[in-house]
């Protein structure tokens, strides 16, 4: 069931954001309930403030977030991602 949720989250984010990089980590074991850490790198975030980026992800996963206990995200542009890697 948990693996299902992970793949649903991955599929939806991939379809919505065509990410350059996507990392969905299941951290349920560290928490008491279904929990994920997500890093998403997409050109669709370019020129948008953090709040708006997070709103985009929240609305993409609106249904899923109802049953996810903890969800943390990092939303980066490809440029920010390159900078962070170096």
């Amino acid at each position: 069931k948990m693996a299902d949720m992970k793949s649903i989250v991955e599929t939806k984010l991939t379809e919505e954001f065509s990410p350059v990089h996507l990392d969905v980590t299941d951290i349920t074991a560290e928490k008491c309930d279904t929990s994920f850490n997500v890093i998403i790198v997409s050109d669709k975030f370019t020129g948008k403030p953090l709040l708006q980026r997070h709103r985009m992800v929240n609305s993409c996963l609106e249904e899923e977030l109802k049953s996810i206990h903890a969800f943390t995200m990092k939303t980066l542009t490809p440029e920010q991602w390159e900078k962070q890697k170096t």
Binding site: L50, H54, N58
Partner: protein
């Protein structure tokens, strides 16, 4: 609900330069995410801010989700506008932008 209509929530978020809706109270946060926000504010010398314990008020909890169009807590309002939840506050803290956001409302950290 009648208890928290838009006008009341408007004045709630505008009552102080920084307003936090969280699980627990600053002296005793009841969730790691709320705690992280409290710690970051403390690090920036933001000592005086309004906080509301959404665990104590189920109506406020549900109304704030709608009002903010934001699904989770904590929610941090600066200058009457939603700045973000824990992730955003942490990222703004790490990249230095939180100082700018606080400066905009006259808080020097």
């Amino acid at each position: 609900s009648a208890k928290w209509d838009k006008t009341k929530l408007d004045s709630l978020v505008q009552n102080s330069k920084v307003v936090v809706f969280m699980k627990g109270v600053p002296a005793q946060p009841m969730c790691g995410f709320s705690n992280a926000v409290v710690q970051v504010l403390r690090m920036h010398g933001v000592d005086e801010y309004d906080s509301h314990n959404i665990l104590d008020d189920e109506d406020l909890r549900s109304e704030m989700k709608v009002y903010s169009n934001w699904p989770t807590f904590p929610q941090v309002y600066v200058g009457g506008e939603l700045l973000g939840g824990c992730d955003i506050i942490m990222q703004l803290h790490q990249n230095g932008e939180l100082i700018e956001e606080l400066t905009k409302v006259g808080i020097r950290s």
